[in-house]
């Protein structure tokens, strides 16, 4: 494993073109239209080109040379990438993969602008820069700048969706208080794997993620604590970074592969049984590393081994002994599923199972729990209008459940639900939390 150096391997050609699209997969779409009612953007627009079937037809037309990449770009951009269309497809078309190829071709056909280069080449790949961002956010929030910007209304010089987003961002943790701690009782020692196996404690490497670590440090810590309480040995793996999902979804596949290789290398150097994450979007990407590196003889076997160990937090927790939780005072809880957890990973029952086991929780399903909330990575920033339409529909359904708490399993969804609560004027009545934080809360309550 150690002989795998990312830099030594030639970068794959960035030049994805429509001729490289997976034509057999495009032909697998039999155009039955069963995906249309599941698609949020079709639901909102009623337009065929804004549906999965329409987008596949557009991608195929580009592959056939009937349309140029510029023609299909608007609809590739408008897609949330939620993959709600995949479970209902009779032919089992892998829509997400087709979309990623198309986006990659679109991205490769255009010069990369400075913002794109800043985010995808500098910010997300570099742990140091990410930490700096976290520190700057903390400074902005605690120095009074945040207060000043909102109090003076200066913040409103930004587009509405951006200042609203700023208002709901959680408080970043102080830079000097960002080290995670694993409760001593269960901390992994240097003991041999056989000794660990004898104890039958699953050895878990925590995948921290980039956004999670900056914005939801406490959630990561709560995740560690819950796993320890459930009897896991938790390992903090140094050198890990962003999963590459945002890159892949934005057509930045070479950057995504680079990040994947880094994670494969550092986790591969450990002897963990599971690689656990608490962000549905990251988890789906981590599980796809084998496909991403398909055909790369040096990396594919390692990528497959890595992917086979990946579990969502709820996926692993549901298989372990129930936590001993004092519970919550009577609370009505609903869940907004992460698209990439539900559709990308097929993990749907486990989070519900965990929630139902918390004493005091009454679980109430949303009318469309697995329909995208409009967050979709950075979609709510780049497509604010459609995102808002999709969110409005979601919030109406949240209201219908009468729940006080909306649980999510992904940071993007969590921020989006907080935005939705704010826009719907439900602040103080409804809150949005990550499932790990709700568990931590239930563990704290006494009497």
């Amino acid at each position: 494993m150690n002989n795998l150096q990312e830099k030594e391997l030639a970068e794959p050609a960035t030049g994805m073109t429509p001729q490289d699209f997976n034509y057999s997969e495009l032909l697998n779409c039999m155009r039955c239209g069963f995906c249309l009612p599941t698609c949020p953007t079709y639901q909102e627009t009623g337009l065929e080109m804004a549906s999965p079937r329409g987008r596949i037809a557009l991608i195929k037309a580009a592959a056939d040379g009937r349309l140029g990449l510029a023609d299909i770009t608007p609809q590739m951009d408008l897609c949330l990438g939620c993959r709600n269309c995949e479970p209902v497809c009779p032919s089992g078309v892998k829509y997400g993969a087709l979309l990623e190829d198309a986006r990659q071709a679109v991205a490769a056909s255009k010069p990369r602008g400075p913002v794109r280069r800043l985010f995808f080449d500098v910010v997300f790949p570099r742990a140091g820069v990410l930490k700096l961002m976290g520190a700057l956010l903390w400074l902005y929030q605690t120095s009074g700048l945040h207060w000043l910007a909102h109090a003076t209304g200066l913040i409103r010089l930004l587009p509405r969706h951006l200042w609203e987003m700023d208002a709901i961002l959680p408080r970043a943790r102080a830079p000097w208080r960002r080290r995670h701690t694993v409760p001593a009782a269960a901390q992994t020692t240097t003991s041999t794997p056989t000794a660990a196996a004898a104890e039958r404690r699953p050895r878990v490497g925590i995948f921290l993620g980039c956004v999670m670590e900056i914005l939801f440090w406490e959630t990561n810590q709560a995740t560690i604590q819950a796993l320890v309480a459930a009897g896991c040995k938790v390992v903090l793996v140094e050198g890990q970074g962003c999963c590459g999902a945002l890159h892949a979804h934005a057509g930045e596949k070479p950057g995504a592969l680079k990040l994947a290789k880094r994670n494969i290398r550092v986790f591969g150097a450990t002897d963990v049984d599971y690689i656990v994450n608490n962000a549905g979007g990251c988890g789906a990407a981590l599980k796809e590393y084998g496909h991403w590196l398909h055909g790369d003889p040096a990396w594919e076997p390692h990528a497959r081994a890595f992917a086979a160990k990946v579990r969502d937090f709820s996926e692993l927790l549901a298989t372990l002994a129930p936590l001993d939780l004092p519970g919550l005072p009577d609370e009505k809880v609903t869940m907004q599923e992460s698209c990439h957890l539900a559709h990308g990973q097929g993990v749907r029952l486990q989070p519900r199972h965990i929630l139902r086991r918390i004493p005091g929780v009454t679980f109430s399903e949303l009318a469309e729990p697995d329909r995208c909330c409009g967050s979709a990575g950075i979609y709510n920033v780049v497509q604010p209008e459609m995102s808002a339409q999709v969110l409005n529909r979601k919030m109406a359904q949240v209201k219908d459940t009468g729940a006080q708490t909306v649980v999510t399993t992904n940071p993007g969804c969590l921020l989006q639900m907080r935005l939705g609560i704010r826009r719907a004027g439900l602040e103080g009545q409804v809150r949005a939390v990550h499932i790990a934080d709700l568990l931590a809360e239930a563990a704290r309550q006494h009497g």
């Binding site: 057999s24 032909l27 697998n28 039999m30 155009r31 039955c32 239209g33 069963f34 249309l36 009612p37 009623g46 337009l47 065929e48 080109m49 549906s51 329409g54 037809a57 557009l58 037309a61 009937r66 349309l67 140029g68 023609d71 299909i72 608007p74 609809q75 009779p90 032919s91 089992g92």
Partner: protein, 470 residues
């Protein structure tokens, strides 16, 4: 290409945001659910009212612009592919349920309402709209009426035409006609309602419909029967009907479909049987329980190797899994899936299924059959690859032969998918030259300029009938 002046007038009628003609927009309305057919329109227009439809049609007649009416585009006979260009008129914006009348048991709605939404709305009031085509979660009522859609409940409850009581439709000249109404009895003149149902958008554009509703059945029971040979399964179907029981659904899977289903969905059925029948009865609890036992007994008497009767609704769902997975299981085998709907009188089902299997062998094709055994409406489904020209030619030849056999058995070339463009060349086999002449007369009475869905139903010269050797 539309002339700039016409384009501007169309934009003025509906508002510029509801007229589409960017290359990606035209591409997205160039196909429907029929494999192998695609043609670009010159524009897509989305009217919001009957008045706007009238203005669009008037203008189109004046300038001889083809108009193809389209709902969600789930047509299976290339009926909504704009083969001669022109306008695709999408009814998606006209999607209001205007009234549910519990006293007259009717629903009045616009054509763009999704079929499943009608089900949901009326069932909430304890009412029932039976037609349930496979695409009901996305198909529109307008499309269902245009095609006279069927579904799983056809045997007991009939098809779309049995539930359309009245229509409002715009003629190509821009006049608006109203046919039928809420009256159970109405013999005032020719039955234009029935004429428009199944007219596939070639006579008028439907802008409003009044549908008949029934009380919602309270209970449902399900059974499944396995047969070692096709003939006993066919005989069981005939005996069930002869025993004066009309099941709500009576579905069938052949061995090939069953194998595909097991491979894909692992529902736990033996794959060495020749046929599976799925039976459902609905109605009052006592009637369901009685009928399902009787159905099971008949299947046993006709030599079923195994009969399973579901005790609960959940068990019933479990049994129906095989049928629901059929299309998915088949569609995954090869890139191109051609789903046909040759239909025969139900007594001839076994013969038809065996003929399909023989023809598939003869042309060296993978064809599996499933479908609505109770009403003789079968779905021989060919798994192929559109890139293989030779195989596609063999598929076409095989289906020619399948249609010919169906007609010989007293059946028809299409039970519920419509003639459209895909089967226009076969229509004369079914209706004969005199029948074609009458239909052409009707077409020109409604649409003298020939702008509505040109080339569909009547548009292709008759294909030479194949001689079937037995």
């Amino acid at each position: 290409m539309l002339a700039a002046g016409i384009r501007a007038q169309l934009q003025q009628i509906v508002g510029p945001e509801h007229f589409l003609d960017r290359p990606d927009e035209l591409l997205a309305y160039s196909y429907d659910a029929t494999p192998l057919f695609q043609a670009l329109p010159d524009g897509v227009i989305r009217p919001g009212s009957a008045r706007q439809v009238a203005e669009i049609l008037q203008l189109s007649t004046e300038h001889k612009i083809p108009v193809v009416t389209r709902g969600s585009g789930t047509n299976l006979s290339a009926g909504t592919v704009p083969i001669q260009g022109g306008l695709v008129l999408n009814t998606g914006r006209m999607n209001r349920i205007l009234e549910i009348d519990s006293e007259n048991l009717t629903a009045t709605l616009e054509p763009g309402v999704i079929t499943a939404d009608v089900h949901k709305a009326v069932e909430a009031l304890g009412l029932f709209y039976p037609p349930d085509p496979g695409s009901m979660r996305i198909s529109t009522i307008g499309g269902n009426i245009g095609e006279c859609a069927g579904g799983l409940r056809g045997l007991k409850y009939g098809v779309t035409r049995d539930y359309v009581m009245g229509l409002e439709a715009v003629l190509p000249t821009g006049e608006i006609i109203r046919t039928g109404g809420k009256n159970t009895k109405d013999v005032a003149g020719y039955d234009l309602t029935r004429l428009l149902v199944g007219s596939e958008g070639t006579l008028a554009v439907i802008t409003r419909a009044t549908l008949k509703l029934l009380p919602l059945p309270v209970a449902r029971r399900t059974a499944l029967a396995l047969f070692a040979d096709m003939v006993s399964a066919g005989r069981a179907v005939s005996r069930i009907i002869a025993a004066r029981i009309i099941p709500a659904t009576l579905e069938f899977l052949d061995n090939g479909t069953l194998q595909a289903v097991e491979e894909y969905a692992k529902v736990g059925l033996p794959t060495d049987v020749a046929a599976v029948l799925l039976l459902e009865q609905d109605g009052p609890e006592a009637v369901c329980a009685h009928d399902i036992q009787k159905l099971a007994r008949i299947c046993q008497e006709e030599g079923a190797t195994e009969v399973r009767v579901a005790g609960t609704a959940a068990e019933g769902q479990e049994l129906m899994k095989a049928r629901r997975a059929a299309l998915s299981a088949l569609a995954r085998r090869r890139p191109t899936t051609i789903l046909e709907d040759a239909t025969v009188p139900r007594a001839a089902i076994a013969q038809m299924v065996e003929a399909v299997q023989r023809i598939a062998r003869q042309y060296d094709l993978e064809v599996c059959t499933f479908g609505h055994a109770g009403d003789g409406n079968l779905h021989p489904t060919c798994m192929t690859d559109e890139r293989n020209q030779d195989e596609i030619h063999r598929t076409e030849a095989a289906f020619d032969e399948i249609f010919a056999v169906a007609l010989e058995l007293g059946g028809t070339i299409t039970g519920e998918h419509g003639v459209g463009y895909a089967k226009a060349a076969h229509l004369e086999w079914k209706v004969g030259p005199a029948g074609m002449a009458v239909m052409r007369g009707i077409k020109s009475a409604f649409d003298p300029a020939g702008i509505l869905n040109p080339g569909k139903i009547l548009g292709r010269p008759g294909r030479k009938r194949v001689v079937v050797q037995r």
